[in-house]
Symmetry: C2
Subunit: 498 residues, 2 copies
């Protein structure tokens, strides 16, 4: 509450004062927007505030001197059906600006925990969880270098009422005032309380709030322009500075991590006879087929993650599962090197974009764990960033889990000799030759580095809600049955709980 | 009607026959999908059919041997709110596969003109217009090299009823049958008629229909696999063949084209005094601001297209308009060279993606007309394709117009001397130097080629619903007022009509 109340109220500027302040501010903003583009700084300006506090006209003024190639304005309304069927932050992740661009949001992820909270009477647990989600989200963004500027436009209940009345007095503008707006004016106190609470609990060092007195539009503009310019300038300075940084400790974050065996502790001699394989596989496939029906009916979402050594048999394993599924209810999502557009976003962005709808199954052929394997080993991201990633990925999966998603993570494990045999077999078979290239051989040379990375991954991201399953895959058939069993058991369990 | 009726009914295959047919077909499909990728052929497989005719299980079988990197399955349901607020084909344009990929559609753009038509009792004019839209859409795709495969799965009313009953008899599947499904079975005759009519009117040489007897799933699979394989093979052959082609005539298509003056007929000495400029501009801006409110209220959409010589003053012109608009209701869309993803789609794809919602204003800074200017002159597309583009662009704009969109197209015209003065001024001014580069000088060398291209564009794409306005822009201020006047007049007219 203190944050809103601590504002200095009743600030006003005369026309002349305004001109004196605003003109240099506008050129400063124009100049900064060019630097943002040059320095590849991603910026999010989020404007919240009471109804009729002037969010729209403030934004119209703010963007006027910016090159349209450099920014985009989003009006955040109620979510679309396809957005409702995914974790609630999904639609905001999708709106993240590219590095070097500015996203301006008229309302934001704070609307659900403030305005909608009063309208829809949200329970406290949900509210707490969502506030936590927001803090995680914003920390993930700012850790990646996003500059997040949060502005709250403040007006009094009386001023709001007057503005609504003024709008209603003219036929040209009266349609802008809805019954919901009027209700909000009546509920000003509740809204005030909700905004205060949300602001207080999310006013972090990395993404602080700015409450702006918006009763006088001139003061509002000048104050906001100043806030935006200062914040961008500070972020640019930080980006340019080459001060040495302290590496963060590797940690999975504040989650219940379960003990993970090292790769070398697994017994790769496990095998299965051809006859048993066929019979058991058939049984599992029939069962999975039935389960898919039930999952769809109960709207249970499943995310299956495949990682593993090159040539460990991911493709064949996935195919055995896909064969039992209805094409309308699942997608296999192959993860290759990121595109240019993907590189210019937070690394989790492309995975958020691919999240399945409620009741669907997504099978990821390689995953976000590339961050702590290939990106770590090849130096595609800084050491700080991959160290932070273990926690970020646990947080990401926790959000899916909180929504009721079943998460299965498989590491297909083979030994170095078996890989060599398979590489050679690929080279010798006409139809398989496309599956093997120089890069595979280069990765093989780094086997020991990968081994360390995989063990770290297993250690820090085996959570109780999304544990890793290491699949002994020297015998492909054994591997297929083992993943099938884990999958079928997990789905039964999820259905029993529901 | 004849198309559905001419099928051979009651086809069945034994288990052994099926195996003999389907095994080689599956390898053929797998091989072809790799060629599709190699040859960059875009393929659309669209599966329509009666409820419970097996669309889903057919698709599950079809995709099983394809590399997940090469295809994507779409289930077409009811449109989302954001899709309803745009031309009806918008959501289908967005799902076009990249060159070299396959899109498999479970239901399609035929659902609105068949199933929904019966459900919602569509009037004949709307139906006719939509059928025409479909034929235009498919022709535009196939002219661009897309392979469009349209399959209709046919079952009898009795068979459909039996399948629904079978599904309803088990608690695991009964939820799949909705009351809508049962109603559809009762309305089988009407649906049959609607499908027959739609199929008959869209069974074109470039995108023919295939009606498949789907009572026996084995026959259905074999027949469809064969159809898909044959069609892809034919398209690949056509793509590889180097037969000489006859160039199509340049034409704007079957539209009411209005006479256009040549560029050289415009008087570029027109000018306005500074005093009058300020006063008149202020008036227009105030008026535009009020108009924007009304447009938004009446959900009138506006698309403003800016084209013109380099340095003709597009940016400054756009800024004068944007200043009067509410940021929540308009977007400036700068069109640069296409990205890799955009190049790998039909050239209109990226413009469809950027269409404004109903009631919004989109200002395009450069447009789809790049096709008949820079792409024509630099040889970025074949001569056939740019010759076809005039008609395609008229068709595109007609679809917007049919929805009630106001379309304004401005060509900002200066002479060669004025351009030279502006280029030099840019080079001499520190803050403007970024606006001028080598490419601008190279384009200038091609002035005469561009002049021919612009005159062609004016001649073939000045339609009565979307005429070109050539703006004499040697005097920037005169130019700004003229566009403002045309815009304000057009908006008044649109509001009066509404």
């Amino acid at each position: 509450m203190k944050i809103i109340e601590s504002r200095e109220i009743g600030r006003q500027l005369t026309k002349d004062e305004y001109k004196n302040f605003v003109t240099p501010l506008k050129s400063r903003l124009a100049r900064l927007s060019q630097e943002v583009s040059r320095e590849k700084l991603p910026v999010i300006v989020l404007v919240e505030g009471f109804g009729a506090s002037g969010k729209g006209s403030l934004i119209s003024e703010l963007i006027l001197n910016w090159d349209p190639r450099g920014f985009r304005v989003y009006n955040i309304g109620r979510p679309e059906p396809s957005e409702i069927r995914r974790p609630w932050l999904y639609r905001f992740w999708l709106k993240l600006p590219e590095y070097g661009k500015i996203a301006v949001l008229d309302r934001s992820w704070y609307t659900p925990v403030t305005v909608d909270r009063v309208d829809d009477d949200m329970n406290k647990n949900t509210f707490n969880r969502m506030i936590n989600d927001i803090n995680v989200f914003e920390r993930q963004l700012t850790d990646d270098g996003y500059c997040v500027i949060k502005v709250f436009l403040h007006i009094s209940a009386a001023e709001q009422k007057e503005r609504f009345e003024r709008l209603m007095s003219s036929p040209e503008t009266s349609w802008r005032v809805t019954s919901r707006d009027l209700k909000h004016n009546e509920q000003y106190k509740q809204q005030f309380k909700a905004f205060s609470e949300a602001i207080e609990r999310t006013d972090t060092e990395n993404a602080p709030w700015y409450v702006v007195d918006a009763e006088d539009y001139r003061y509002r503009n000048v104050k906001t322009f100043e806030i935006v310019a200062d914040a961008i300038e500070k972020a640019l300075e930080k980006k340019r500075s080459e001060e040495p940084v302290t590496l963060p400790e590797i940690t999975g974050g504040n989650f219940k991590i379960i003990p993970a065996k090292k790769l070398e502790e697994y017994d790769l001699t496990k095998t299965i006879s051809d006859d048993s394989y066929k019979k058991i596989l058939k049984n599992y496939q029939d069962e999975l087929s039935k389960l898919h029906n039930k999952l769809y009916m109960k709207k249970i979402t499943v995310v299956i993650c495949y990682e593993g050594w090159d040539a460990a048999g991911k493709g064949g394993n996935i195919k055995r599962i896909a064969r039992s599924l209805d094409a309308r209810g699942y997608d296999v999502i192959p993860i290759a090197a990121p595109t240019k557009l993907e590189i210019e976003h937070h690394y989790l962005w492309r995975f958020w974009r691919q999240l399945p709808k409620d009741g669907h199954i997504a099978i990821f052929d390689r995953t976000w764990y590339g961050r702590v394997m290939v990106e770590r080993i090849e130096g595609f991201c800084t050491e700080i960033r991959w160290r932070q990633a273990y926690q970020e990925m646990n947080e990401f999966e926790k959000m899916l889990y909180d929504r009721g998603t079943v998460i299965l993570k498989f590491w297909l494990h083979i030994d170095k000799d078996e890989q060599l045999r398979r590489f050679r077999a690929r080279e010798e078979t006409e139809e398989k030759r496309w599956k093997i290239n120089e890069e595979d051989w280069r990765n093989r040379d780094k086997w020991d580095l990968y081994k360390v990375a995989v063990d770290d991954m297993l250690t820090y991201t085996s959570t109780d809600f999304a544990p890793w399953h290491v699949i002994e895959s020297n015998d492909k058939k054994y591997a297929r049955l083992k993943t099938m069993k884990i999958l079928v058991d997990a789905l039964h369990e999820a259905l029993d709980e529901k």
